[in-house]
Protein backbone atom coordinates (compact mmCIF):
# COMPACT_ATOMS: atom_id res chain seq x y z
CA UNK A 1 0.00 0.00 0.00
CA UNK A 2 2.74 2.37 1.03
CA UNK A 3 4.70 1.41 -2.04
CA UNK A 4 1.78 2.32 -4.29
CA UNK A 5 1.38 5.70 -2.62
CA UNK A 6 5.12 6.35 -3.01
CA UNK A 7 4.89 5.28 -6.65
CA UNK A 8 1.99 7.63 -7.31
CA UNK A 9 3.78 10.52 -5.67
CA UNK A 10 6.83 9.76 -7.83
CA UNK A 11 4.67 9.84 -10.96
CA UNK A 12 3.08 13.09 -9.82
CA UNK A 13 6.42 14.71 -9.17
CA UNK A 14 7.74 13.51 -12.51
CA UNK A 15 4.72 14.98 -14.34
CA UNK A 16 5.24 18.31 -12.56
CA UNK A 17 8.87 18.33 -13.69
CA UNK A 18 7.82 17.57 -17.25
CA UNK A 19 5.35 20.46 -17.22
CA UNK A 20 8.04 22.83 -15.91
CA UNK A 21 10.52 21.79 -18.61
CA UNK A 22 7.84 22.30 -21.27
CA UNK A 23 7.17 25.79 -19.88
CA UNK A 24 10.89 26.59 -20.08
CA UNK A 25 11.00 25.36 -23.69
CA UNK A 26 8.00 27.51 -24.61
CA UNK A 27 9.61 30.58 -23.03
CA UNK A 28 12.80 29.94 -25.00
CA UNK A 29 10.77 29.49 -28.18
CA UNK A 30 8.99 32.78 -27.48
CA UNK A 31 12.31 34.54 -26.88
CA UNK A 32 13.71 33.19 -30.16
CA UNK A 33 10.62 34.22 -32.06
CA UNK A 34 10.70 37.64 -30.45
CA UNK A 35 14.39 38.18 -31.22
CA UNK A 36 14.56 36.75 -34.76
CA UNK A 37 11.15 37.12 -36.35
CA UNK A 38 9.47 40.29 -37.51
CA UNK A 39 5.87 39.24 -38.01
CA UNK A 40 4.98 42.57 -39.63
CA UNK A 41 7.46 42.17 -42.43
CA UNK A 42 6.43 38.56 -42.85
CA UNK A 43 2.78 39.54 -43.20
CA UNK A 44 3.00 42.81 -45.09
CA UNK A 45 6.29 42.70 -46.94
CA UNK A 46 8.76 45.63 -47.02
CA UNK A 47 6.90 48.31 -48.96
CA UNK A 48 4.04 49.28 -46.68
CA UNK A 49 3.46 52.76 -45.24
CA UNK A 50 4.42 53.31 -41.63
CA UNK A 51 0.85 54.23 -40.55
CA UNK A 52 -0.51 50.92 -41.76
CA UNK A 53 2.33 49.14 -39.98
CA UNK A 54 1.48 50.87 -36.73
CA UNK A 55 -2.14 49.93 -37.07
CA UNK A 56 -1.39 46.26 -37.61
CA UNK A 57 1.16 46.35 -34.82
CA UNK A 58 -1.57 47.51 -32.45
CA UNK A 59 -4.03 45.02 -33.84
CA UNK A 60 -1.64 42.09 -33.28
CA UNK A 61 -0.77 43.32 -29.81
CA UNK A 62 2.90 43.79 -30.72
CA UNK A 63 2.99 47.19 -29.01
CA UNK A 64 2.14 45.59 -25.66
CA UNK A 65 4.89 44.93 -23.07
CA UNK A 66 6.61 41.56 -23.50
CA UNK A 67 5.14 39.82 -20.42
CA UNK A 68 1.71 40.32 -21.94
CA UNK A 69 2.90 39.03 -25.30
CA UNK A 70 4.48 36.00 -23.59
CA UNK A 71 1.22 35.29 -21.76
CA UNK A 72 -0.62 35.51 -25.06
CA UNK A 73 1.90 33.13 -26.69
CA UNK A 74 1.59 30.62 -23.85
CA UNK A 75 -2.20 30.89 -23.95
CA UNK A 76 -2.12 30.16 -27.68
CA UNK A 77 0.32 27.28 -27.16
CA UNK A 78 -2.05 25.55 -24.74
CA UNK A 79 -4.72 25.68 -27.45
CA UNK A 80 -2.28 24.40 -30.06
CA UNK A 81 -1.72 27.76 -31.74
CA UNK A 82 2.02 28.38 -32.12
CA UNK A 83 1.95 30.86 -34.96
CA UNK A 84 1.55 30.92 -38.73
CA UNK A 85 4.19 29.59 -41.12
CA UNK A 86 5.50 32.27 -43.46
CA UNK A 87 6.18 29.72 -46.22
CA UNK A 88 2.92 27.82 -46.10
CA UNK A 89 0.64 30.58 -44.73
CA UNK A 90 -1.00 27.99 -42.48
CA UNK A 91 -0.83 27.30 -38.71
CA UNK A 92 2.65 25.93 -38.00
CA UNK A 93 1.52 23.05 -35.82
CA UNK A 94 -0.70 21.72 -38.60
CA UNK A 95 2.18 21.94 -41.09
CA UNK A 96 4.45 19.95 -38.79
CA UNK A 97 1.82 17.38 -37.81
CA UNK A 98 1.14 16.71 -41.49
CA UNK A 99 4.79 15.63 -41.81
CA UNK A 100 4.79 13.57 -38.63
CA UNK A 101 3.56 10.27 -40.16
CA UNK A 102 6.49 10.21 -42.61
CA UNK A 103 9.07 10.63 -39.85
CA UNK A 104 7.27 8.22 -37.57
CA UNK A 105 7.12 5.46 -40.17
CA UNK A 106 10.82 5.92 -40.93
CA UNK A 107 11.70 5.59 -37.24
CA UNK A 108 9.30 2.65 -36.91
CA UNK A 109 10.96 0.81 -39.80
CA UNK A 110 14.43 1.43 -38.40
CA UNK A 111 13.37 0.41 -34.88
CA UNK A 112 11.94 -2.87 -36.18
CA UNK A 113 15.24 -3.66 -37.88
CA UNK A 114 17.15 -2.74 -34.72
CA UNK A 115 14.92 -4.84 -32.44
CA UNK A 116 14.95 -7.78 -34.79
CA UNK A 117 18.74 -7.93 -35.00
CA UNK A 118 20.22 -6.29 -31.92
CA UNK A 119 18.76 -8.62 -29.28
CA UNK A 120 19.77 -11.93 -30.90
CA UNK A 121 23.14 -10.54 -31.98
CA UNK A 122 23.87 -8.99 -28.59
CA UNK A 123 22.85 -12.12 -26.68
CA UNK A 124 24.92 -14.29 -29.03
CA UNK A 125 28.02 -12.09 -28.56
CA UNK A 126 27.58 -12.28 -24.78
CA UNK A 127 27.09 -16.02 -24.43
CA UNK A 128 29.56 -17.09 -27.13
CA UNK A 129 32.16 -14.31 -26.96
CA UNK A 130 35.05 -16.25 -28.49
CA UNK A 131 33.34 -17.53 -31.63
CA UNK A 132 34.20 -16.13 -35.02
CA UNK A 133 30.60 -15.03 -35.46
CA UNK A 134 30.74 -12.85 -32.35
CA UNK A 135 34.05 -11.33 -33.47
CA UNK A 136 32.55 -10.61 -36.87
CA UNK A 137 29.47 -8.95 -35.38
CA UNK A 138 31.56 -6.76 -33.07
CA UNK A 139 33.93 -5.88 -35.91
CA UNK A 140 31.03 -4.87 -38.12
CA UNK A 141 29.55 -2.81 -35.30
CA UNK A 142 32.79 -0.80 -35.02
CA UNK A 143 32.47 -0.21 -38.75
CA UNK A 144 28.84 0.84 -38.35
CA UNK A 145 29.66 3.30 -35.59
CA UNK A 146 32.52 4.77 -37.63
CA UNK A 147 30.47 5.52 -40.73
CA UNK A 148 28.33 8.68 -40.42
CA UNK A 149 24.68 7.98 -41.02
CA UNK A 150 24.42 10.24 -44.08
CA UNK A 151 27.34 8.44 -45.72
CA UNK A 152 25.73 5.06 -45.11
CA UNK A 153 22.70 6.43 -46.91
CA UNK A 154 24.76 7.75 -49.80
CA UNK A 155 26.69 4.50 -50.14
CA UNK A 156 23.46 2.47 -50.09
CA UNK A 157 21.97 4.76 -52.75
CA UNK A 158 25.12 4.48 -54.87
CA UNK A 159 24.98 0.71 -54.70
CA UNK A 160 21.25 -0.11 -54.83
CA UNK A 161 19.84 2.83 -56.77
CA UNK A 162 22.56 4.19 -59.03
CA UNK A 163 24.54 1.05 -59.86
CA UNK A 164 22.03 -1.79 -59.45
CA UNK A 165 18.82 0.20 -59.91
CA UNK A 166 16.88 -2.09 -57.55
CA UNK A 167 15.45 0.40 -55.08
CA UNK A 168 14.21 4.01 -55.29
CA UNK A 169 16.55 6.63 -53.84
CA UNK A 170 14.26 9.41 -52.70
CA UNK A 171 10.77 10.29 -51.54
CA UNK A 172 8.08 8.16 -49.96
CA UNK A 173 6.44 6.73 -53.06
CA UNK A 174 2.68 6.04 -53.11
CA UNK A 175 0.87 6.68 -49.85
CA UNK A 176 -2.62 5.83 -48.63
CA UNK A 177 -4.65 8.26 -46.55
CA UNK A 178 -6.16 6.87 -43.35
CA UNK A 179 -8.02 9.73 -41.72
CA UNK A 180 -5.33 12.31 -40.90
CA UNK A 181 -2.53 9.79 -41.31
CA UNK A 182 -0.71 9.41 -44.62
CA UNK A 183 0.82 5.96 -44.59
CA UNK A 184 3.34 4.48 -46.97
CA UNK A 185 3.20 1.10 -45.26
CA UNK A 186 0.20 -0.20 -47.19
CA UNK A 187 1.50 0.06 -50.73
CA UNK A 188 4.25 -1.99 -52.31
CA UNK A 189 5.76 1.22 -53.71
CA UNK A 190 5.71 2.89 -50.29
CA UNK A 191 7.42 -0.08 -48.67
CA UNK A 192 10.06 -0.19 -51.38
CA UNK A 193 10.81 3.48 -50.73
CA UNK A 194 11.11 2.79 -47.00
CA UNK A 195 13.78 0.06 -47.26
CA UNK A 196 16.90 2.14 -47.85
CA UNK A 197 16.07 5.01 -45.44
CA UNK A 198 15.10 2.57 -42.66
CA UNK A 199 18.29 0.54 -43.22
CA UNK A 200 20.33 3.74 -43.11
CA UNK A 201 18.78 4.95 -39.89
CA UNK A 202 19.14 1.54 -38.28
CA UNK A 203 22.80 1.28 -39.31
CA UNK A 204 23.79 3.80 -36.67
CA UNK A 205 21.48 2.51 -33.92
CA UNK A 206 22.09 -1.19 -34.47
CA UNK A 207 25.79 -1.27 -33.42
CA UNK A 208 24.96 0.80 -30.35
CA UNK A 209 22.17 -1.55 -29.29
CA UNK A 210 24.17 -4.70 -30.03
CA UNK A 211 26.87 -3.38 -27.70
CA UNK A 212 24.32 -2.39 -25.08
CA UNK A 213 22.56 -5.77 -25.14
CA UNK A 214 25.90 -7.54 -25.04
CA UNK A 215 27.20 -5.42 -22.15
CA UNK A 216 24.00 -5.79 -20.14
CA UNK A 217 23.92 -9.56 -20.79
CA UNK A 218 27.56 -9.96 -19.74
CA UNK A 219 26.76 -8.14 -16.49
CA UNK A 220 23.77 -10.36 -15.80
CA UNK A 221 25.57 -13.59 -16.66
CA UNK A 222 28.09 -12.86 -13.93
CA UNK A 223 25.41 -12.81 -11.25
CA UNK A 224 24.81 -15.61 -8.77
CA UNK A 225 21.23 -16.24 -9.78
CA UNK A 226 22.39 -17.38 -13.19
CA UNK A 227 24.64 -19.98 -11.61
CA UNK A 228 21.84 -21.02 -9.24
CA UNK A 229 19.40 -21.45 -12.10
CA UNK A 230 21.95 -23.52 -14.01
CA UNK A 231 22.64 -25.62 -10.90
CA UNK A 232 18.93 -26.28 -10.56
CA UNK A 233 19.09 -27.86 -13.97
CA UNK A 234 17.56 -25.14 -16.14
CA UNK A 235 18.74 -25.33 -19.73
CA UNK A 236 21.27 -22.68 -20.79
CA UNK A 237 18.84 -21.24 -23.32
CA UNK A 238 16.16 -20.85 -20.67
CA UNK A 239 18.61 -19.17 -18.28
CA UNK A 240 19.80 -16.78 -20.96
CA UNK A 241 16.41 -15.79 -22.25
CA UNK A 242 14.03 -16.14 -19.31
CA UNK A 243 16.37 -14.86 -16.62
CA UNK A 244 19.35 -12.89 -17.82
CA UNK A 245 17.85 -11.23 -20.89
CA UNK A 246 14.78 -10.09 -18.98
CA UNK A 247 16.91 -8.31 -16.41
CA UNK A 248 19.30 -7.02 -19.04
CA UNK A 249 16.49 -5.31 -20.94
CA UNK A 250 15.67 -2.96 -18.07
CA UNK A 251 18.70 -0.67 -18.36
CA UNK A 252 18.18 -0.87 -22.11
CA UNK A 253 14.75 0.71 -21.90
CA UNK A 254 16.26 3.60 -19.97
CA UNK A 255 19.27 4.11 -22.23
CA UNK A 256 17.23 3.59 -25.39
CA UNK A 257 14.66 6.13 -24.29
CA UNK A 258 17.23 8.72 -23.35
CA UNK A 259 18.66 8.64 -26.87
CA UNK A 260 15.59 10.32 -28.33
CA UNK A 261 17.42 13.58 -29.11
CA UNK A 262 20.13 11.71 -30.97
CA UNK A 263 17.49 9.67 -32.78
CA UNK A 264 15.74 12.85 -33.96
CA UNK A 265 19.05 14.24 -35.23
CA UNK A 266 19.85 11.02 -37.12
CA UNK A 267 16.34 10.96 -38.55
CA UNK A 268 16.86 14.52 -39.77
CA UNK A 269 20.10 13.47 -41.51
CA UNK A 270 18.46 10.41 -43.06
CA UNK A 271 15.53 12.47 -44.28
CA UNK A 272 17.94 14.93 -45.89
CA UNK A 273 19.79 12.19 -47.78
CA UNK A 274 16.61 10.54 -49.05
CA UNK A 275 14.56 13.73 -49.42
CA UNK A 276 12.09 11.96 -47.16
CA UNK A 277 9.19 14.39 -46.63
CA UNK A 278 9.26 14.26 -42.82
CA UNK A 279 9.63 16.79 -40.04
CA UNK A 280 13.40 17.05 -40.22
CA UNK A 281 13.33 17.78 -43.94
CA UNK A 282 10.64 20.39 -43.29
CA UNK A 283 12.74 21.96 -40.52
CA UNK A 284 15.75 22.38 -42.81
CA UNK A 285 13.53 23.98 -45.44
CA UNK A 286 12.25 26.36 -42.77
CA UNK A 287 15.85 27.19 -41.80
CA UNK A 288 16.93 27.89 -45.37
CA UNK A 289 13.95 30.16 -45.92
CA UNK A 290 14.08 31.71 -42.43
CA UNK A 291 10.52 30.74 -41.49
CA UNK A 292 10.92 31.68 -37.81
CA UNK A 293 7.43 30.60 -36.60
CA UNK A 294 7.87 27.19 -38.21
CA UNK A 295 11.37 26.84 -36.72
CA UNK A 296 10.23 27.68 -33.19
CA UNK A 297 7.21 25.38 -33.48
CA UNK A 298 9.55 22.57 -34.51
CA UNK A 299 11.69 23.29 -31.45
CA UNK A 300 8.63 23.12 -29.20
CA UNK A 301 7.46 19.90 -30.87
CA UNK A 302 10.87 18.24 -30.56
CA UNK A 303 11.05 19.44 -26.95
CA UNK A 304 7.65 17.87 -26.31
CA UNK A 305 8.77 14.54 -27.82
CA UNK A 306 11.89 14.71 -25.66
CA UNK A 307 10.01 15.48 -22.44
CA UNK A 308 7.27 12.90 -23.06
CA UNK A 309 9.76 10.13 -23.86
CA UNK A 310 11.90 10.88 -20.83
CA UNK A 311 8.89 10.96 -18.54
CA UNK A 312 7.53 7.68 -19.92
CA UNK A 313 10.95 6.04 -19.62
CA UNK A 314 11.24 7.11 -15.98
CA UNK A 315 7.77 5.86 -15.13
CA UNK A 316 8.22 2.58 -17.03
CA UNK A 317 11.58 2.03 -15.33
CA UNK A 318 9.83 2.54 -12.02
CA UNK A 319 7.19 -0.03 -12.89
CA UNK A 320 9.79 -2.54 -14.04
CA UNK A 321 12.01 -1.99 -11.03
CA UNK A 322 10.33 -0.48 -7.98
CA UNK A 323 13.70 0.17 -6.31
CA UNK A 324 14.36 3.15 -8.61
CA UNK A 325 13.50 6.61 -7.46
CA UNK A 326 11.53 5.79 -4.35
CA UNK A 327 14.22 6.56 -1.79
CA UNK A 328 13.67 10.26 -2.14
CA UNK A 329 9.88 10.02 -2.22
Amino acid sequence: MQAIAAGLSFVGRRLMQAALVMLAILIIAFAVKDALGDPLREILGEAVPEAQREELRRELGLDRPWPEQLARYLGGAVKGDLGTSTIYKRPTLGVILAKFPASFELVLGASLIVLLFSVPAGVYCAVRPRTRGAQLILGLSVLGISIPVFLTGILLITLFSVWLGWLPAFGRGDTVRLGFWDTGLLTWDGLKHLILPALTLSSIMLPLFIRLVRGAMLDELGHDYVRTARAKGASPLRVWLAHALRNALLPLVAIGGLQVGTLIAYTLLTETVFQWPGMGFLFLEAVTRADIPLITTYLVFVGLLFVVTNTIVDIVSLMLDPRIGLEGA
Binding site: L36, S146, P148, V149, L151, V162, A169, Q259, L269, I292
Partner: protein, 306 residues
Protein backbone atom coordinates in the same frame (compact mmCIF):
# COMPACT_ATOMS: atom_id res chain seq x y z
CA UNK B 1 58.28 10.72 -18.64
CA UNK B 2 61.48 9.14 -17.41
CA UNK B 3 64.59 8.55 -19.48
CA UNK B 4 64.02 4.82 -19.09
CA UNK B 5 60.59 5.09 -20.67
CA UNK B 6 61.89 7.19 -23.54
CA UNK B 7 64.58 4.57 -24.24
CA UNK B 8 62.22 1.60 -24.19
CA UNK B 9 59.25 3.32 -25.80
CA UNK B 10 60.18 2.56 -29.43
CA UNK B 11 60.64 -1.13 -28.70
CA UNK B 12 57.39 -1.25 -26.74
CA UNK B 13 55.62 0.44 -29.64
CA UNK B 14 57.06 -2.07 -32.11
CA UNK B 15 55.99 -4.96 -29.92
CA UNK B 16 52.55 -3.47 -29.66
CA UNK B 17 52.37 -3.00 -33.42
CA UNK B 18 53.26 -6.64 -33.94
CA UNK B 19 50.57 -7.66 -31.50
CA UNK B 20 47.90 -5.37 -32.95
CA UNK B 21 48.51 -5.08 -36.69
CA UNK B 22 45.12 -3.45 -37.13
CA UNK B 23 46.08 -0.60 -34.85
CA UNK B 24 49.43 -0.21 -36.60
CA UNK B 25 47.70 -0.03 -39.97
CA UNK B 26 45.23 2.52 -38.59
CA UNK B 27 48.13 4.62 -37.28
CA UNK B 28 49.84 4.53 -40.68
CA UNK B 29 46.65 5.45 -42.56
CA UNK B 30 45.75 8.23 -40.15
CA UNK B 31 49.35 9.47 -40.08
CA UNK B 32 49.55 9.71 -43.87
CA UNK B 33 46.17 11.41 -44.18
CA UNK B 34 47.04 13.94 -41.46
CA UNK B 35 50.48 14.51 -42.99
CA UNK B 36 49.03 15.08 -46.46
CA UNK B 37 46.36 17.38 -45.02
CA UNK B 38 48.96 19.40 -43.11
CA UNK B 39 51.02 19.82 -46.28
CA UNK B 40 47.97 20.55 -48.43
CA UNK B 41 49.29 23.91 -49.73
CA UNK B 42 52.45 22.14 -50.97
CA UNK B 43 50.84 18.96 -52.29
CA UNK B 44 47.67 20.30 -53.86
CA UNK B 45 47.99 21.07 -57.57
CA UNK B 46 45.33 23.75 -57.21
CA UNK B 47 44.04 26.17 -54.58
CA UNK B 48 40.43 25.02 -54.11
CA UNK B 49 39.49 28.24 -52.27
CA UNK B 50 40.57 30.40 -55.21
CA UNK B 51 37.60 30.52 -57.57
CA UNK B 52 39.76 31.85 -60.44
CA UNK B 53 42.07 28.83 -60.43
CA UNK B 54 39.51 26.46 -61.90
CA UNK B 55 37.43 26.40 -65.02
CA UNK B 56 33.83 25.38 -65.58
CA UNK B 57 34.96 23.64 -68.75
CA UNK B 58 36.70 21.04 -66.60
CA UNK B 59 33.55 20.27 -64.58
CA UNK B 60 32.55 16.68 -63.90
CA UNK B 61 35.76 14.92 -64.98
CA UNK B 62 36.01 11.37 -63.64
CA UNK B 63 39.03 10.09 -61.66
CA UNK B 64 42.18 9.09 -63.56
CA UNK B 65 41.29 5.37 -63.76
CA UNK B 66 37.97 5.97 -65.56
CA UNK B 67 37.20 6.78 -69.19
CA UNK B 68 37.12 10.47 -70.11
CA UNK B 69 39.53 11.51 -67.39
CA UNK B 70 42.06 14.31 -67.64
CA UNK B 71 45.63 13.60 -66.42
CA UNK B 72 45.64 16.95 -64.59
CA UNK B 73 42.93 15.74 -62.23
CA UNK B 74 43.95 12.62 -60.33
CA UNK B 75 40.58 12.17 -58.60
CA UNK B 76 38.46 14.03 -61.14
CA UNK B 77 36.64 17.33 -60.70
CA UNK B 78 33.41 18.56 -59.14
CA UNK B 79 30.52 20.57 -60.62
CA UNK B 80 32.57 23.78 -60.69
CA UNK B 81 35.60 22.14 -62.31
CA UNK B 82 37.46 22.12 -59.00
CA UNK B 83 40.23 19.53 -58.70
CA UNK B 84 38.82 16.97 -56.28
CA UNK B 85 42.24 15.84 -55.02
CA UNK B 86 43.10 19.39 -53.93
CA UNK B 87 39.64 19.92 -52.47
CA UNK B 88 39.91 16.71 -50.45
CA UNK B 89 43.36 17.65 -49.10
CA UNK B 90 42.14 21.06 -47.92
CA UNK B 91 38.80 19.64 -46.77
CA UNK B 92 40.49 17.01 -44.63
CA UNK B 93 42.60 19.77 -43.12
CA UNK B 94 39.50 21.73 -42.10
CA UNK B 95 37.77 18.62 -40.76
CA UNK B 96 40.80 17.65 -38.66
CA UNK B 97 41.34 21.19 -37.35
CA UNK B 98 37.70 21.60 -36.32
CA UNK B 99 37.70 18.14 -34.69
CA UNK B 100 40.89 18.70 -32.70
CA UNK B 101 39.99 22.24 -31.60
CA UNK B 102 36.49 21.18 -30.54
CA UNK B 103 37.93 18.41 -28.38
CA UNK B 104 40.46 20.88 -26.95
CA UNK B 105 37.53 22.99 -25.77
CA UNK B 106 35.77 19.94 -24.37
CA UNK B 107 38.86 19.06 -22.37
CA UNK B 108 39.55 22.64 -21.32
CA UNK B 109 36.04 22.89 -19.88
CA UNK B 110 35.53 19.34 -18.65
CA UNK B 111 38.83 18.44 -16.96
CA UNK B 112 38.95 21.47 -14.62
CA UNK B 113 35.27 21.02 -13.78
CA UNK B 114 35.77 17.32 -13.05
CA UNK B 115 38.82 18.04 -10.88
CA UNK B 116 37.00 20.85 -9.12
CA UNK B 117 34.12 18.49 -8.35
CA UNK B 118 36.51 15.97 -6.81
CA UNK B 119 38.55 18.49 -4.92
CA UNK B 120 35.66 20.52 -3.50
CA UNK B 121 33.17 17.67 -3.20
CA UNK B 122 29.81 18.29 -1.57
CA UNK B 123 27.55 20.78 -3.26
CA UNK B 124 30.02 21.69 -6.03
CA UNK B 125 30.26 18.02 -6.90
CA UNK B 126 26.47 17.70 -7.03
CA UNK B 127 26.10 20.77 -9.25
CA UNK B 128 28.79 19.64 -11.73
CA UNK B 129 27.40 16.10 -11.89
CA UNK B 130 23.83 17.28 -12.42
CA UNK B 131 24.88 19.83 -15.05
CA UNK B 132 26.80 17.10 -16.86
CA UNK B 133 23.76 14.80 -16.82
CA UNK B 134 21.49 17.51 -18.20
CA UNK B 135 23.96 18.55 -20.89
CA UNK B 136 24.38 14.95 -22.05
CA UNK B 137 20.65 14.28 -22.15
CA UNK B 138 20.31 17.08 -24.70
CA UNK B 139 22.16 15.17 -27.46
CA UNK B 140 25.12 16.94 -29.04
CA UNK B 141 24.02 16.68 -32.63
CA UNK B 142 20.49 17.93 -31.97
CA UNK B 143 21.76 20.88 -29.89
CA UNK B 144 24.33 21.77 -32.53
CA UNK B 145 21.71 21.57 -35.27
CA UNK B 146 19.35 23.85 -33.33
CA UNK B 147 22.00 26.43 -32.41
CA UNK B 148 23.43 26.63 -35.93
CA UNK B 149 19.97 26.62 -37.50
CA UNK B 150 18.90 29.56 -35.35
CA UNK B 151 22.14 31.35 -36.19
CA UNK B 152 21.54 30.81 -39.87
CA UNK B 153 17.84 31.73 -39.80
CA UNK B 154 18.50 34.81 -37.67
CA UNK B 155 21.65 36.24 -39.18
CA UNK B 156 21.61 34.67 -42.62
CA UNK B 157 23.78 32.17 -44.46
CA UNK B 158 26.43 34.85 -45.09
CA UNK B 159 27.33 35.29 -41.42
CA UNK B 160 27.17 31.54 -40.88
CA UNK B 161 29.76 31.07 -43.64
CA UNK B 162 32.03 33.72 -42.19
CA UNK B 163 32.02 32.39 -38.64
CA UNK B 164 31.62 28.68 -39.50
CA UNK B 165 34.93 27.46 -38.01
CA UNK B 166 34.70 29.16 -34.60
CA UNK B 167 30.98 28.41 -34.40
CA UNK B 168 31.43 24.70 -35.11
CA UNK B 169 34.36 24.46 -32.70
CA UNK B 170 32.45 26.14 -29.88
CA UNK B 171 29.15 24.34 -30.47
CA UNK B 172 30.71 20.87 -30.66
CA UNK B 173 33.18 21.79 -27.91
CA UNK B 174 30.66 23.01 -25.37
CA UNK B 175 28.19 20.18 -26.01
CA UNK B 176 30.49 17.38 -24.91
CA UNK B 177 32.49 18.70 -21.92
CA UNK B 178 30.64 16.28 -19.59
CA UNK B 179 32.58 13.28 -20.93
CA UNK B 180 35.86 14.84 -19.84
CA UNK B 181 34.36 16.03 -16.54
CA UNK B 182 33.06 12.54 -15.74
CA UNK B 183 36.28 10.78 -16.69
CA UNK B 184 38.47 13.28 -14.82
CA UNK B 185 36.23 13.11 -11.77
CA UNK B 186 36.08 9.32 -11.67
CA UNK B 187 39.83 8.92 -12.18
CA UNK B 188 40.72 11.68 -9.73
CA UNK B 189 38.54 10.15 -7.03
CA UNK B 190 40.46 6.91 -7.36
CA UNK B 191 43.78 8.76 -7.10
CA UNK B 192 42.70 11.05 -4.27
CA UNK B 193 42.70 8.28 -1.67
CA UNK B 194 46.07 6.83 -2.69
CA UNK B 195 49.07 7.04 -0.41
CA UNK B 196 51.10 9.46 -2.51
CA UNK B 197 48.28 12.00 -2.39
CA UNK B 198 47.96 11.55 1.36
CA UNK B 199 51.70 11.97 1.68
CA UNK B 200 51.62 15.18 -0.37
CA UNK B 201 48.83 16.46 1.82
CA UNK B 202 50.69 15.53 4.99
CA UNK B 203 53.69 17.44 3.67
CA UNK B 204 51.51 20.55 3.61
CA UNK B 205 50.41 20.58 -0.04
CA UNK B 206 47.34 22.67 -0.76
CA UNK B 207 44.35 21.31 -2.63
CA UNK B 208 45.02 23.07 -5.93
CA UNK B 209 48.70 22.14 -5.90
CA UNK B 210 47.95 18.51 -5.19
CA UNK B 211 45.34 18.35 -7.94
CA UNK B 212 47.47 19.93 -10.64
CA UNK B 213 50.90 18.59 -9.68
CA UNK B 214 50.07 15.11 -8.41
CA UNK B 215 46.63 13.95 -9.49
CA UNK B 216 46.42 15.41 -13.01
CA UNK B 217 49.60 13.73 -14.34
CA UNK B 218 48.32 10.40 -13.03
CA UNK B 219 44.94 10.56 -14.73
CA UNK B 220 46.25 11.52 -18.17
CA UNK B 221 45.93 8.00 -19.62
CA UNK B 222 42.13 7.73 -19.49
CA UNK B 223 41.87 11.33 -20.67
CA UNK B 224 44.06 10.64 -23.70
CA UNK B 225 41.99 7.59 -24.61
CA UNK B 226 38.82 9.64 -24.24
CA UNK B 227 40.24 12.47 -26.35
CA UNK B 228 40.93 10.05 -29.21
CA UNK B 229 37.37 8.77 -29.45
CA UNK B 230 36.03 12.27 -28.88
CA UNK B 231 38.01 13.53 -31.89
CA UNK B 232 36.29 10.92 -34.05
CA UNK B 233 32.95 12.06 -32.69
CA UNK B 234 33.74 15.73 -33.28
CA UNK B 235 34.88 15.11 -36.86
CA UNK B 236 31.71 13.14 -37.49
CA UNK B 237 29.53 15.88 -35.98
CA UNK B 238 31.23 18.54 -38.09
CA UNK B 239 30.72 16.46 -41.23
CA UNK B 240 27.06 15.90 -40.40
CA UNK B 241 26.45 19.61 -39.76
CA UNK B 242 28.24 20.61 -42.96
CA UNK B 243 26.27 18.01 -44.86
CA UNK B 244 23.06 19.62 -43.61
CA UNK B 245 24.28 23.00 -44.84
CA UNK B 246 24.76 24.23 -41.27
CA UNK B 247 28.55 24.05 -41.22
CA UNK B 248 31.42 24.89 -43.55
CA UNK B 249 30.33 26.83 -46.65
CA UNK B 250 30.87 25.68 -50.24
CA UNK B 251 33.58 28.32 -50.67
CA UNK B 252 35.61 26.75 -47.87
CA UNK B 253 34.56 23.11 -47.94
CA UNK B 254 35.27 20.50 -45.28
CA UNK B 255 34.79 16.83 -46.13
CA UNK B 256 31.14 17.09 -45.10
CA UNK B 257 30.57 20.06 -47.42
CA UNK B 258 32.24 18.24 -50.31
CA UNK B 259 29.98 15.24 -49.75
CA UNK B 260 26.96 17.52 -49.73
CA UNK B 261 27.86 19.50 -52.81
CA UNK B 262 28.73 16.36 -54.73
CA UNK B 263 25.51 14.67 -53.75
CA UNK B 264 23.46 16.51 -56.40
CA UNK B 265 25.80 15.22 -59.09
CA UNK B 266 25.47 11.62 -58.09
CA UNK B 267 22.30 10.97 -60.04
CA UNK B 268 23.94 12.52 -63.08
CA UNK B 269 26.50 9.71 -62.83
CA UNK B 270 29.33 11.65 -61.16
CA UNK B 271 29.40 9.49 -58.02
CA UNK B 272 33.06 10.19 -57.26
CA UNK B 273 32.49 13.79 -56.16
CA UNK B 274 30.52 12.46 -53.18
CA UNK B 275 31.92 8.99 -52.65
CA UNK B 276 35.66 9.84 -52.65
CA UNK B 277 35.53 12.49 -49.88
CA UNK B 278 33.16 10.10 -48.10
CA UNK B 279 35.73 7.30 -48.23
CA UNK B 280 38.44 9.62 -46.86
CA UNK B 281 36.11 10.60 -44.02
CA UNK B 282 35.36 6.95 -43.26
CA UNK B 283 39.08 6.09 -43.35
CA UNK B 284 39.82 8.88 -40.86
CA UNK B 285 36.99 7.89 -38.52
CA UNK B 286 37.74 4.16 -38.54
CA UNK B 287 41.47 4.79 -38.00
CA UNK B 288 40.81 7.11 -35.07
CA UNK B 289 38.36 4.65 -33.48
CA UNK B 290 40.68 1.66 -33.94
CA UNK B 291 43.58 3.68 -32.53
CA UNK B 292 41.42 4.72 -29.60
CA UNK B 293 40.64 1.07 -28.81
CA UNK B 294 44.32 0.16 -29.06
CA UNK B 295 45.37 3.10 -26.88
CA UNK B 296 42.87 2.00 -24.26
CA UNK B 297 44.47 -1.43 -24.12
CA UNK B 298 47.98 0.03 -24.19
CA UNK B 299 47.40 2.55 -21.42
CA UNK B 300 45.17 0.39 -19.25
CA UNK B 301 47.13 -2.77 -18.39
CA UNK B 302 44.14 -4.41 -16.72
CA UNK B 303 42.34 -4.78 -20.01
CA UNK B 304 45.29 -6.42 -21.77
CA UNK B 305 45.59 -8.97 -18.99
CA UNK B 306 42.06 -10.18 -19.66
Amino acid sequence: MSAEMVRTAPRALLAFAAERPGAALAAIILGSIAFAAALAPLLAPQDPFDLTSFDLLDAGRPPAWLKGSDPRFLLGTDAQGRDLFSAILYGTRISLIVGVLAVAIQAALGVPLGLLATYRGGRVDTVVTRAADIQLSLSTLMMAIIVLALFRAGLGGESLSRYAVPLLVVVIGVAEWPYFARTARAAAQVEAVKDYVRAARALGGTGLGIVTRHILPNILSPLIVLATTQIAGAIMAEAALSFLGLGMPVTKPSLGTLIRSGYDLMFAGAWWVTVLPGLVLIAVLISVNVLGDALRDLLDPRRVAR
